[in-house]
Symmetry: C2
Subunit: 432 residues, 2 copies
């Protein structure tokens, strides 16, 4: 019942704001660069509001810029929602988040066209700054809604890379600092379903169409600050240096090695150094450390090991299983600051059942071949909604498993399969 | 004959423009942050022009903004010059370069006060962008003057860190794009003497006052670009990554190890990555590599080894003597681009003799105890002048050997010793 062509057009219509790097010749062969609360994000938000209103919804915006479009049901009550996000990575693609919002809009279009009356209201949500790319707490706005992150803290987050703007300033600037409190109490919802590209290779590898997501792995984002001493690169021998860059390089390499040993992940995506001159050994280096693991306990053990070992590396002492971390030179200091913790999550059984049944209806006897139960490697707004309301997610394959990259791609067919499962799941939940 | 107090006042008067980080309570206890061709550099330049004119000099500015102040002598001919620079590192000190220019001004003050007529003209030079901190070719303007760097290339250099301005644009903006050709032919000089802080610990370690500089070590600045692939930090396992940051970290560590093995230096002072998001593995990392060695041959061997090994590290192959450079993951590519080569230099015998004799006059029987022959670890404009005219340098100690750091310090006494040796050396050369 979902209209594949119409969904595809919505996706790429909404991608006119914030186009990124071109990778092919086709009209839609560009990535996206729509950082949260940028001017292009404002345009996409305006489109979201106008479109959902034109489909019979009322919209409201909370103090984090989260936008809730609600369509009346037979009875009053909290809406069953489809939600995701319209912000992207600086070099992101056209499907991460965008597919989920556009599939929600397609759901509204189907309900409108077919004059379906739901039991309770049905909603579509655009969450703010899911990526955490510009303001470095991912899913921060659903986190505030869920009461897991303080509004003041969220409003005060500054842009990455030494930028000066805070989230609050940027919400105000683009006109999305809403009047409504950002809270599951002020804006209660009944359930949250999120369609998303898998962002990994597992569905594609098995030629499957739908991932029935059981939960999300744990992750923690830190900013690590290494302090040494600025000095001249030509006149300071190694023995007299406290080289913050060399020390950070050793930590980045070590985090990779240690994570690999315990089936976890460690990545550094941001690094800034000061003063930033070819002939001055940098006295300060800050870098992001994103660590992930399937279970909270394993993640915390990795973090504890890294804390101990980074301390040793900073002091230029031997690290037990990486003796050669020592180099000629004096020590540095190291400090950790936790930006965003995200615990491992298990989704709601009833919601998962709605997704499963919806997929069964579509694939029939092919269900086993075409679907897979899986855990999400990435965080999503559904992590935070799951603390307050029944939640589940639906994954669709993306080409080569590539995401956070301009070439990210999901075929029109797969987008439509996902939207169809989403629609079926929402309507099923509405009936419960 | 040099006036210690007056010299000290000139130094700190000139440091009112571009003050940096405060490190103590005293009026002069701040570093400097006077990047080349910034507004504060313009103010310092204006002061240099006005002051030297008020001391009876004519001034002229060449197409690189180099400013030559010349005081008439009994006969016409190329001036014997004292030269250095007024630009600083982003977190630099009050002596690097500034002392040399101010000692030149103090020389003019002494000549004026004591109505000394020199045989030939005597000059003081402020060279542009010696540091290479903002426009990443050190000593670029003396390099153009010496005919060793093309004017067009120099004019086209862009600011570091992704800045947009070129040298030419900034010269024009601050009004220092002079009419005169930047060339030793258009603006010939007779000899070049440069007083500078040592920027290292060797004079202080022996409680000596003057370094008689014999030459300068070789160095080469490169920009290394590592390219991998942007991908999601949470959904991409290590095996499927081409992690440009991890690869760069391994190269930085390896450059340190290899340089240490051959008594050379390697340093990374700038590193930028894209896209720069906590949850995207960076696809591109660019970093500066500053390598130095006492002899050209040794430096080139180090560079060749690094080129071969960086290639292996990029391909994630074992490096012979650092087998553990391998990590789980796919390869990246690496490219080198040479920004600034500076060959090892030996200074002129006659000029060195003038410095030696001048120091002997001051220290008498204490000469052996108070002076040291030494090689400079840092490049200076004297490197480039030495290709065209007899050149030598004089070093004075700086506290703890620290330079390119706000706490850089040279005592009033040591500044005055240096200025006195400079004055004596210039007048001796004038007599030759
Ligand atoms: N899906 C997605 O990219 N979410 C951002 C949070 C994360 O890095 O996992
Ligand atoms: N003296 C000084 O810092 N010169 C800049 C060129 C170099 O890095 O050696």
């Amino acid at each position: 019942r979902v209209n594949k062509q119409r969904l595809w057009e919505d996706i790429h219509h909404s991608c006119q704001w914030g186009k990124g790097e071109r990778w092919g010749k086709g009209e839609t062969d560009t990535g996206m660069s729509r950082l949260s609360l940028s001017d292009s994000d404002r345009m996409a938000r305006n489109w979201f509001e106008e479109t959902t209103r034109s489909l019979g919804c009322t919209t409201c915006i909370d103090a984090m810029g989260n936008t809730f479009a609600t369509r009346k049901g037979r009875q009053q009550g909290p809406p069953t929602c489809a939600g995701s996000h319209l912000d992207t990575q600086p070099t992101g693609g056209r499907y991460d988040g965008i597919l989920g919002v556009c599939a929600g809009i397609e759901m509204l279009r189907v309900l409108q066209d077919e004059k379906i009356e739901s039991e309770y209201p049905i909603g579509v949500i655009n969450w703010t700054n899911e990526e955490g790319a510009r303001f470095p707490i991912s899913m921060v706005a659903s986190g505030v809604w869920a009461g897991r992150i303080a509004l003041e803290r969220a409003h005060a987050i500054r842009e990455v890379g030494g930028g000066k703007q805070t989230m609050r300033q940027e919400l105000e600037r683009i006109g999305y600092l809403g009047d409504m409190e950002a809270s599951y109490k002020a804006m209660p919802i009944g359930a949250h379903f999120e369609l998303h590209i898998e962002q990994g290779p597992r569905l594609e590898a098995k030629n499957q169409k739908i991932g029935i997501v059981q939960g999300v792995q744990a992750y923690r984002w830190h900013t690590i600050t290494v302090k040494g001493r600025d000095c001249h690169t030509g006149t300071t021998d190694f023995a007299n240096r406290s080289d913050a860059m060399l020390t950070a390089a050793k930590m980045i390499l070590h985090s990779h090695r240690l994570a690999a040993k315990c089936a976890s992940l460690a990545s550094t995506g941001i690094l800034t150094l000061t003063p930033g001159s070819t002939n001055t050994v940098p006295g300060t280096v800050c870098f992001s450390l994103d660590i992930r693991a399937g279970e909270d306990g394993r993640l915390m053990r990795l973090e504890e090991d890294l804390r101990a070992d980074f301390g040793k590396i900073a002091r230029n002492e031997a690290v037990d299983d990486l003796n050669d971390a020592r180099t000629i030179g004096k020590g540095c200091t190291v400090e950790w600051s936790l930006d965003a913790p995200s615990e491992a999550i298990k989704f709601d059984k009833d919601c998962i059942a709605c997704v499963t049944d919806s997929a069964k209806e579509i694939f029939g006897t092919e269900f086993e071949n075409r679907t897979q139960e899986m855990t999400s490697g990435a965080g999503h707004d559904s992590v935070f909604t799951s603390y307050r309301v029944p939640t589940a997610m639906i994954f669709v394959p993306c080409k080569d498993g590539v995401s956070h990259n301009p070439v990210e791609y999901c075929s029109p067919e797969d987008c439509a399969y996902g939207a169809q499962v989403l629609l079926g799941a929402v309507l099923r939940y509405d009936k419960l």
